[in-house]
């Protein structure tokens, strides 16, 4: 686990061809609280778990509006995330001013990725310690991207980052094939269900999560607590069960009650 010899600065390669500082930065992303993104042909939903330092403080903001047609959810060093969100807002607004037209999200993520790459190749810098789920629209429809501290970016149908994101990813892996055709409501429900997976045991309440939506003809905005609670109420009648096999059971039960739009739920695996 400790590779001390070659990890002092980001411009030192290890003999096995790795940049440990970059990998450590990616570890920081895994420590942050979970953030989830999913997209259909026409909408993108970003959701996150609200974590507060203590009961006395307010929770950290993890989802930011970049423009009417682009939003970003972050996990990791939120200060880095805030700075990058500001950069994204700046790029978006500059493009809008010059061209009176929304910046295609694909071009924004490339600029973001190039910015992150610079920090992996300067000895006086450090990589950004934040992973960004960028959701947005352009001419070819809705897109969801994940930007990594390494400077890589990937496009996804659905993705989860942060702590206990694997649980959410497992949930999403079973359902993602149907997302493209999902309705807006089903997409939101799937996002909240995926959030629930990361909570593993805690009761899901609307105060614990933040959900945002954007789509064709729908500018980026947050859902208010009441709307989120309503969605939760449609499936949260089954008492939460414990981890491991319980996860799958609760999911199947919820899917039954989920009703109409829910497509094929994979049969339970023990």
């Amino acid at each position: 686990m400790f590779r001390n010899q070659y990890d002092t600065d980001v411009t030192t390669w290890s003999p096995t061809g790795r940049l440990f500082q970059v990998e450590y930065a990616m570890e920081a992303v895994k420590q942050g609280s979970a953030a989830i993104g999913l997209r259909s042909r026409s909408h993108v939903v970003l959701a996150s778990v609200n974590k507060a330092q203590s009961e006395l403080s307010s929770h950290q903001r993890k989802i930011f509006k970049v423009d009417d047609h682009i939003g970003v959810a972050i996990a990791g060093l939120t200060a880095d995330g805030r700075v990058l969100s500001r950069y994204m807002r700046s790029e978006s607004i500059n493009h809008s001013f010059t061209y009176e037209s929304p910046l295609p999200v694909g071009r924004l993520v490339v600029r973001l990725a190039d910015k992150a790459q610079v920090c992996t190749q300067r000895s006086w810098k450090r990589p950004y310690g934040v992973g960004l789920l960028v959701g947005g629209l352009d001419e070819s429809g809705a897109h969801l991207y994940y930007n990594c501290p390494s400077g890589n970016y990937f496009e996804y149908q659905a993705f989860a980052i942060g702590s206990r994101s694997q649980a959410a990813k497992t949930y999403l892996e079973r359902r993602f094939e149907s997302f493209n055709e999902s309705s807006r409501e089903d997409l939101i429900k799937d996002a909240i269900l995926a959030i629930r997976e990361t909570l593993q045991g805690e009761t899901l309440k609307s105060s614990l999560c933040t959900v945002s939506v954007l789509g064709v003809d729908e500018p980026f905005h947050f859902l208010d607590q009441d709307s989120i609670q309503k969605v939760i109420d449609t499936f949260e009648n089954v008492p939460e069960e414990e981890e491991d096999g319980g996860e799958a059971e609760a999911e199947a039960a919820a899917a039954e009650q989920g009703g109409a739009g829910d497509q094929d739920v994979a049969p339970m695996e023990m």
């Binding site: 061209y99 009176e100 037209s101 694909g106 352009d138």
Partner: protein
């Protein structure tokens, strides 16, 4: 021009040599452009003349050029500044194509980019001495706009530059309709261009008509309009006012 405006670029005030590189007045100019939206897109007409002051020096200048896949730019005013603008747009389109990502610059984006360029140059007291007409079609929507050398920019169903504003637009205001067919649109433009030919001394009888539709841009071959000079009033023009010419 004896006054000089110091250009402070932060380091130093520019010297007289640099000052002499700012646009002061135009040298080789093109005259009006007239453009209209029609049923399938946009039609634009211009003649092929380049005047050197009062001399009609160049008679084969193409003052309308396709930009990217979706737009057409027409220019009146200083021809060399038009060529400079074409170089800027070349770079813009090139970078847009290099992204290779399914997004492309539409006429609205090009128009706004040009507005920014023209306005910024005007603010530096070094204008590009042109009035530009930008037309195009993207995703079924027609677009037609104009930018002047001081950065005034707007969109309309029919636009004209220079003399065209005074001679062509009144005709267009009366006779333009949204559902003009291609043939009717061309006839309407030719009517405007004929009036300009008669009345604008920098116009020549060699014009091109360009068409932009969803399919793309086509610029016609040059041709000339039929004119009629046998009006009775031309025979003895000073009949009503002895001594004038």
């Amino acid at each position: 021009m004896t006054f000089t405006i110091p250009i402070d670029n932060g380091d130093s005030v520019k010297t007289a040599e640099a000052d002499s590189q700012r646009t002061l007045y135009p040298y080789v100019t093109g005259t009006s452009i007239v453009a209209i939206k029609y049923k399938d897109g946009v039609l634009m007409a211009s003649d092929m003349g380049g005047s050197y002051g009062s001399t009609l020096r160049y008679k084969n200048i193409e003052r309308m050029k396709a930009i990217g896949k979706h737009s057409l730019l027409g220019a009146s005013g200083e021809i060399s500044d038009f060529q400079e603008i074409l170089r800027y747009l070349d770079e813009l389109v090139l970078n847009d194509n290099m992204w290779d990502d399914g997004n492309s610059l539409g006429p609205k984006e090009v128009h706004n980019y040009l507005t920014r360029v023209m306005y910024n140059r005007r603010n530096k007291f070094n204008p590009l001495w042109n009035t530009l007409v930008l037309g195009g079609v993207k995703n079924g929507e027609s677009y037609l706009g104009m930018v002047s050398m001081i950065g005034v920019s707007f969109e309309d169903n029919h636009v004209a530059t220079g003399f065209g504003n005074h001679l062509a637009r009144p005709i267009l205001r009366d006779e333009w309709r949204a559902d003009l067919s291609f043939e009717d649109g061309v006839k309407l433009l030719e009517k405007c261009m004929r009036v300009l030919l008669y009345r604008d001394r920098s116009a020549i009888n060699k014009l091109q008509i360009a068409k932009i539709t969803e399919e793309g841009v086509t610029v016609s071959q040059p041709y000339s309009l039929k004119t009629f000079w046998e009006f009775k009033a031309f025979n003895n023009p000073t009949a009503g006012a002895e001594g004038s010419w």
